[in-house]
Amino acid sequence: MSKPRIAIFDFACCEGCQLQIVNLEEELLDLIGAVDVVEWREAMSEQSHEYDIAIVEGSITRPEDEDRVEIIRSRAKILIALGACATIGGVNKLKNNFDLDDVKECVYGDDAKMPHLDTAMTKAVDEVVEVDYKVHGCPIDRKEFTYIVRCLLLGKKPEIPEWPVCVECKAKGNPCLWEYGQVCLGPIIRAGCGARCPSSGFRCFGCRGYVDEPNVNAAKDVIEKYGLSIEDLKGKMILFGSTQGPTNE
């Protein structure tokens, strides 16, 4: 059987998720041996229009990028969104809270009208094309990435946690950060990160996006118990592009 052909593409992002792939160190060499990497625009000069799996990093922020991701979709059997910018729009979505002309002027001043500085509303990849699998997080978790790739190579469906970060945080025996007055988004955000941030004493800020069916009422109970407002929660939610979701009700 021939090796699956993988192509990696990137759009607006910090490249931190591709860095996690490099950070696999020796494991990366094993992984590359099991697949056929036919295009990694940053990674190699070769290009190919023939691939089975497309991995897409970054948010879609320009009309020409929408066209590009549509072409990628049409060529790929499987499309994977890599990292928060691709899965939920990431920090790039903060831009959507402002008028776009105002955003351009703020950064480029009088030069804002130069055509090469144009921009559009930020979209996650699945707001433009169908996405088959998502590798969540900002940045992605290296182990979860290799797990998902391994599952696909074996023809299995990867299982992504459908429970909130609090589950993993409690299992680690961490004291709850709400007790310290932090607005932690653990109750409504998808687990799978090993509660990395709360374990370091830093509130969850939602980089993995909402868990599919969060217990919103329980989250509200928590918020009220600690005398904080739903506005506080929404404010922290905005950081990672999750402006649409259960707390917008």
Binding site: F11, A12, C13, C14, E15, G16, C17, Q18, L19, Q20, I21, V22, N23, E25, E26, L28, I32, D36, V37, V38, W40, R41, E42, A43, M44, S45, E46, T61, R62, D65, G90, V91, N92, L94, K95, N97, F98, D102, V103, K104, C106, V107, Y108, D111, M114, H116, L117, T119, C138, P139, R196, C197, S199, S200, G201, F202, F205, G235, K236, L239
Partner: protein, 435 residues
Amino acid sequence: MSKDLNINVRHMTRVEGHGNIAVNAKNGRIEKIEWQVPEAPRFFEAMVRGLSYEDIQTVVSRICGICSITHSLAATKAVEAALGIKVSKQADKMRILMHYSEQLQSHTLHIGYLAAPDFFGAPSVVPLVAKAKDAVLTIVRTHKVANEWSDLIAGRTTHPVTLIPGGLTRFPTEQQLKDLQETLKGCLNDLSTIAEVVLSVAENIPAFERDTEYVSLKQTDPPTYTFYHGDITSTDTNGSVVPISDWEGIANEYVSPQSTAKWCKWHRDSYAVGALARFNNNAELLTDGAKGVAKMFGLEKGCCNPYMNTIAQLVECVHIVETSIQLIDELLTAGIKEEKIKTSGKAGMASGCVEAPRGILFHSYEFDNKGNCVGGNICIPTNQNHANIQKDFEKLVPQIIDQGQDAVRQKLEMLVRSYDPCISCSTHMLNVEFV
């Protein structure tokens, strides 16, 4: 040899995004030499408006995956200066230790995965596995040490989560610091090996020179080869310094039609930042081991060969590890104490500055009386190097035009790489052979 050139390299490197090289010459007459930056703009300065002072570093860390700790530190220093928030000596030292981990991460990646294949005349690091397997594994091992070091202090390899205005959310234990110190001692041997290997191919470093201005931090109290504290200096200021708060008058940012990233100039048409700039301003303050590596390569203050930036990074790796071993001693002698951080928002405006692996980085923010951000301004090192790369191109191409298209393209690519473009460039080398 034909004197026609038609070089059009699209997305040759990642320089906070994408970079193109375009050169045209007919019958030896040069028509066009351009370093272009067509990256999709991301508008961070606009996006931070309205955010709480507590959230700034979390967002701006995402400017760059490879310099995320550096961006977080610059932002946090600016926030603390604006709001008058004090940081303990212990937290200050721990942050410097955190910052060093990222310098080693980034430098190792650049030297090992990106620059070394150029020196060996290899298309990627992969053929080097066969040629010099131990050397490649030494690089991988050093890179891994740096990543695990970041994990320990910053909570993650990329995008730190322990850094908050006022200090850190948590500290490593004394035992963890002792273990790190032992690992770093072993790392010094690995760095010696890497230096020997690079020296064996050092004749492949082009002998190109162009006198330019070098800008970096300078710390006099106490005198330190600094990445974190100090004021701004340059090789054109006779050792005098300018306060961080005046950085906009140094960078003089302007929009070039060649680029979505802004360009900079100070006393001349362009200036350079990065390891060679730091070395040219502060070399006498390096550790003995680092000075030894500089001597091995004949690297001296006043060097204006941009290709030597990679060697300056190698020198800095040794300095960083030797200094960190000592810093851990100081932390352990004082004993690690838990800190309770309590801050609140108020109005203020200030700048913060640190050295990113690839050069000096400025952040400025203004806050309203609730501590919400009113505006920000950020100037990244890569932008400060763009004009200098263009000027290097303009001097270099006429000198080597007789060498033909491939040699010119290769030397230009190598030149851009020597300024240390980001990660994708290193992976550019890594996977070519697997196709």
